[in-house]
Each structure stands twice: as C-alpha cells, then as structure tokens.
C-alpha cells in the first residue's frame, strides 16, 4: 500500500503500455484515509480530499468543489464558464426564464435542468414554495424568479397592486375584483413570450445547459477526471481489463 501521493504517482507511471499501475484500474482509490484519482495526462495523483463534500460544493457553486480540492485552475474555469452562461441566459431571457412551477398546465420541466447550476437557481424554488396559497407575495423584490400567474389565479390585493406598479406587462384591468382577493384574468407566461419573443427560449436554453453541464463538473469533483490514463476516455472496467491483459 503506497503511503503518499508521490508514491501513487510513481506507481501509476511504471506501467509501459499506458496503464500506469494498479491505481489506474479505477477512477479513484483509497490511500489510507485519503482518496485519490490519477491524472490522465501525466499519471500524477490528485488528492480528492472528501469527494462527497467536494461534489456538494460543486453543486452549490460550480467550481467550488475543485477549489476545495486544490484544483484551482479548473475550479476557476468551471465557475466562469457555467456561472457566466447561466447569468447570460438570465439576462437574455429578461430575468424571467428561471422559475419553478408545478401547477397543472404550467409544469416548468426546464427548471429540473436549471437546478443543476446550484444555489443561483434556488431562489426560484424558494419563491415557488413561498407563493403556495392565494394571499402570499413573492419573497424577493421585483418578483425575482417567481412563477408566473396563471389565468384565474387568485392573489392578494397587495400583490396585485405591486404587480401593476412594477411589471410593465401588467395593467390594473388584468385583475377582477373579488374581495378580499383579486383574480388574474390574463396569462403571464404569454405576456412574457409576447415581450421577449425568441429570447425567452434562448435564455431558457442557456440556463438549462449551464445546469446540465454542472452535473459533469460535480462528477469530476467526486471521482476525478473521466479520461483514461492514456488520454483516451474509458471506464474503470475497461482499464481493469487492459491491466489484466
């Protein structure tokens, strides 16, 4: 059993056929209490620290798990690329493309992908849970990431007045007066589509892809690089077979 990261790296570089030692047989191996992965490029050992914690951090903020493991360059790369794309998508979509809604007829499936980007998508979940019931108002200002009003939805009088004064798409006569509440008589998603056009779809696509790609980043933080030791992609099983051969 090797005692240090240097010994694991040396073991990994000994094999002549590109399979560089027993630690190449699996993506990550336990080194005493430490869990390491082997770099596909130079066969050096990568200390994964606590992989579960790294994966959790990578989900919360893309790249943070890699920074925790000391893989700073990749951490910065992932953080810039994924958060940048998510925020660009939000901007392209007028800040309306990330919301969670599970109402019949308006189930927002793209949010499942967007949630992969981590805490940046969480306000949508908070808003969705906070708005359960008719007399609630969104938690954050400007209805940030709040789900749209559907036709016939009852809202509090205060929320209706707030929407009328802050949202350029909504006018006072969009609500029926049903004391003590007010009933929305339009469809807010349609209003967003009318104003944003194709930007709504483009923004949704950007934010979805950012969330889905972060799943790969989470896996990389948890188990190390997916490439084979010889630089080609391969599973641990493939590598074990090659090693036995």
């Amino acid at each position: 059993m090797p005692e240090s990261l240097e010994e694991v790296g040396a073991l990994a570089q000994k094999s002549p056929d590109g399979m560089r030692g027993p630690h190449a047989a699996e993506p990550s191996r336990s080194l005493g209490k430490r869990i390491v992965a082997i770099s596909p490029d130079d066969g050096s050992a990568i200390d994964l620290h606590n992989p579960a914690l790294a994966a959790l951090l990578a989900w919360c903020v893309p790249g943070l798990g890699h920074m925790y493991q000391g893989r700073t360059l990749k951490g910065r790369l992932f953080m810039g690329a994924i958060l940048g794309t998510f925020l660009l998508g939000m901007w392209l979509g007028g800040g309306r493309v990330v919301y969670a809604s599970w109402k019949p007829g308006d189930t927002r499936w793209p949010f499942v992908c967007q949630a992969g980007a981590g805490v940046v998508a969480l306000p949508a979940l908070v808003q969705s849970m906070w708005l359960q019931g008719s007399a609630k108002q969104p938690l954050f200002a400007l209805e940030f990431m709040s789900p749209p009003l559907s036709p016939g939805q009852f809202v509090s009088r205060a929320y209706a007045e707030r929407l009328t004064s802050t949202d350029p798409d909504i006018e006072a006569d969009f609500f029926f007066d049903k004391p003590p509440l007010r009933q929305f008589r339009s469809d807010q998603v349609s209003l967003w589509h009318r104003r944003l056009g194709r930007w709504f779809e483009i923004g949704t696509l950007y934010t979805m892809l950012a969330g889905m790609l972060n799943v790969l980043v989470i896996y990389d933080a948890w188990a190390g690089p997916m490439g084979g030791v010889d630089g080609k992609a391969g599973t641990g099983e493939d590598r074990s077979k090659k090693l036995k051969a």
């Binding site: 490029d41 130079d42 893989r71 990749k74 992932f78 696509l205 892809l209 980043v217 690089p225 490439g227």
Partner: protein, 90 residues
C-alpha cells in the same frame, strides 16, 4: 431608372464575387435559421466542460476543447443540414 437598376445589379454581382463563399454561406444560414449564432457559444461551452472533465493539464484541456468543438459542431451541423434539406424538400 434602367441605368440605376443595372448599376445596382452590377454592384451586387461585384459584391457577391468579392465576398468569400464561406461568408455568403454564413449569411444565408443566419437568414434561414434566426438565432443560430447563439448556439455557437453553447457548443464552445460544452466542448470546454467536456474537455476539462477529461483532463487536468491546461494544454491538454485546450487541445481537447478544439477536438470536442469539431465533433460537436460537425454532428450538429449535419443534423441542421438534414433538417434544412427536409424543409426544402417539403
């Protein structure tokens, strides 16, 4: 009036002759598929993330990004060409 039209046609011919065929192809593509160029950063992003999750060395990540971009762009380009062809045939 005829003179103006013929001068315009000559200018258009000269312009199309001076533009590289690649630029004309891109302009036609942008006209036929609105918003296609918003997909290019996504291909680049996906290639970068794929590459970075398969390598640790920055130089290897750069090379793999180019490799993945060519593959992803090629596959998506073929799909787009097939869709455009089907649309044109129908």
């Amino acid at each position: 009036m005829m003179n103006v039209l013929s001068v315009g046609a000559i200018c258009a011919d000269a312009l199309s002759a001076s533009l590289p065929s690649g630029a004309l192809l891109l302009a036609t593509l942008a006209d036929r598929v609105p918003g296609i160029f918003f997909g290019l950063p996504l291909v680049a992003l996906a290639s970068l993330v794929f590459a970075a999750t398969h390598h640790e060395d920055p130089a290897a990540i750069g090379l793999a990004t180019v490799h993945w971009s060519v593959w992803l762009g090629g596959i998506l380009g073929i799909v787009l060409a097939a869709v455009l062809l089907l649309g044109w045939m129908s």
